[in-house]
Symmetry: C2
Subunit: 335 residues, 2 copies
DNA sequence: AGTTGTGGTGGAAGCGCTTCCATGAAAGAC
DNA sequence: GTCTTTCATGGAAGCGCTTCCACCACAACT
């Protein structure tokens, strides 16, 4: 792969030792400013790039982060897909590599090994998998890690999150305030944090208004579009005047079935989702939803991890503000 | 990160030198079988994992492959999404890491640098980007690489492909043979190899039957669902009795619009797509299409790359057989 | 002037691995 | 029985980097 420019070359060109050059380039203290400048110049003019494998081996960082996904399928999981996309972008813009660590049949070994093998400096973990043995195993190995999505039972782990509970409560609250009284909900995969929080938000909205949740309006889903479709008949049977699906995918599934049965949305039933993923799908309509700001989320999570790697500090949990997407599946007052 | 088991430990436990242990573990010649066995035992019982950064630095391989994507968006690109998913799985199952190298604003540097930085042993490149400067640059740097999708002008580069042209021709041929006479086509992004080949297949099917293509039935698209929708009015204006969209996404867009205009599919117009991605989308119907066998494709492409890295040989171009998906958007004879 | 900082600097060690090369033992050839 | 060939084996070098530590110069104190 052609002649490689090493740190030695840079040091020589700058007239300093390799040690000084290394410090200069890595922003370590103990280098005079003019020397630092001189080294930078030399590096640039030689088109130097540090060998990350060597840096890593010598105790530095390889500048590679792993993204641990709680799923092995991307093709029907807009949330995971958007996360991958955004994190990849954010990592690249910070000159970090992104290693994709998907949940695998051989998860136990695979992901853990990538980390053990020293290929990855730190990991970003989708919080939905916290609690699973292979993740606990990973966390126990003390790799620097940041969760996407705070985990209530693990407040000590760094995390970046949107306000699942509050947002869900606001969304459902809006429905209640605009006159809906029988709001059904299709939950996400129970046991997943985001699913629980969104369900909790649903309950909170009711409680805040002194209302009691009719438990027969709570339907258990799994975040997949298919379940939204399949469960729609049951939901319709409960005669709700609104539906809060824990993500847009299930909302889409529900709407598909409802329309097949000639139910008017939002006329007969208002529908709200979560994630905002309906926006990208050219459905012909958009679902009222909470938009996960994936780009901001990803940039933040990468920044938190990178600063953690650099030994810096950051708030344990960083919140990212979500946005309300006023879609076509609810009725909005004029103005 | 706890105590790390090194090759030295393994060698000591097996009662051999580090050199021998290395050779044994890497399947290099010059080690007696019983020794090889003993080393393997020791490694297993110590739960040894080689440090890939060190291996890489020392001239070995890091067992990391890069996946170079021709897009920076996954969320509305089922093809890219499926590719990522399948390649990640295939790589993991072969104990290789997968570095995601998306096309970036700073593509020129980013991807190239990851490779230069020695983080990646070889790359898998989506052939759609061959010809772009940053890719040419990458190829010129002599990194072992394999294309997903053969590139007609670069037959010398290893590639794995499905028969785009032949499959498209078969699909369109089927429409012609079943009585359609005005088949419109919505092409992919012109300039992309797969788009050209599928269009060529469309023409070939006509030629094979001594028919001439009515050029007013050729509509230029870009593989996105939106364009399928937007261009639908024009397409319908040409009064076709069938439509061949260069991928399922555009077919979906077209169908959405056609149905809004109360066109019966497949009654009034038969529609065929490509990729088979409609399968995963719970649309309520499936589009007659050519299924890209992503898992097979991914495994093959990873295998070709890995064997290339190992210095082995492979056919320059490997073809993977696609499958016909008999969907609901064309009419099939009974039986 | 003598002493104690202070902070920039380079020498050298060493991260864990692969591979070159010299060594030595075993096996075949004369 | 000696001489060569073959092949497994271990010693040692070195991949490119970071960092420890000793060093030195200079400034700021008694």
């Amino acid at each position: 792969m052609a002649d490689v420019v090493t740190l030695d070359d840079v040091a020589r060109a700058a007239g300093v030792s390799r040690a000084a050059a290394s410090r200069a380039l890595n922003g370590r203290p103990g280098v005079r400013d003019d020397v630092r400048e001189r080294v930078a110049q030399a590096a640039k003019s030689l088109d130097y790039r540090r060998n990350r494998a060597a840096a890593n081996l010598a105790g530095g960082s390889a500048s590679v982060i792993g993204l641990v996904l709680g799923t092995d399928r991307l093709h029907d999981d807009p949330y995971a897909t958007s996360l991958v996309e955004s994190v990849a972008r954010a990592a690249a813009s910070r000159d970090h590599g992104l290693m994709l660590l998907m949940k695998e049949p051989n998860q136990t070994t695979s992901t853990r090994n990538m980390v053990r093998d020293g290929l990855v400096d730190g990991v970003i973990i989708s919080s939905v998998v916290v609690g699973e043995p292979w993740i606990e195993d990973l966390l126990a190995s003390n790799v620097p890690s940041v969760l996407v999505g705070a985990h209530p039972e693990r407040p000590e782990i760094y995390s970046v999150d949107v306000e699942n509970l509050e947002s869900a409560a606001a969304l459902v609250g809006h429905l209640l305030d605009s006159g809906c009284s029988r709001i059904a909900t299709i939950t996400g995969t129970l046991g997943r944090v985001d699913a629980s929080l969104r369900l909790a938000g649903y309950r909170t909205a009711h409680e805040q208004r002194g209302l009691t949740v009719d438990e027969s309006l709570v339907f258990v889903g799994n975040f997949r579009r298919g379940v939204g479709y399949d469960i729609a008949d049951d939901v319709l049977g409960a005669a709700p005047d609104a539906v809060f699906a824990a993500n847009d995918e299930m909302a889409i599934g529900f709407i598909d079935r409802a329309r097949e049965r000639s139910v008017d949305i939002p006329g007969d039933i208002a529908v709200v989702g979560f994630d905002g993923s309906s926006m990208h799908q050219h459905l012909g309509f958009t679902i009222t939803s909470i938009i996960q700001p994936f780009d901001v989320l990803a940039e933040t999570v990468v920044d938190v991890l990178v600063s953690q790697l650099a030994g810096g500090e950051a708030p344990t949990t960083t919140m990212v503000p979500p946005t309300l997407l006023k879609g076509d599946t609810t009725i909005w007052e004029i103005g």
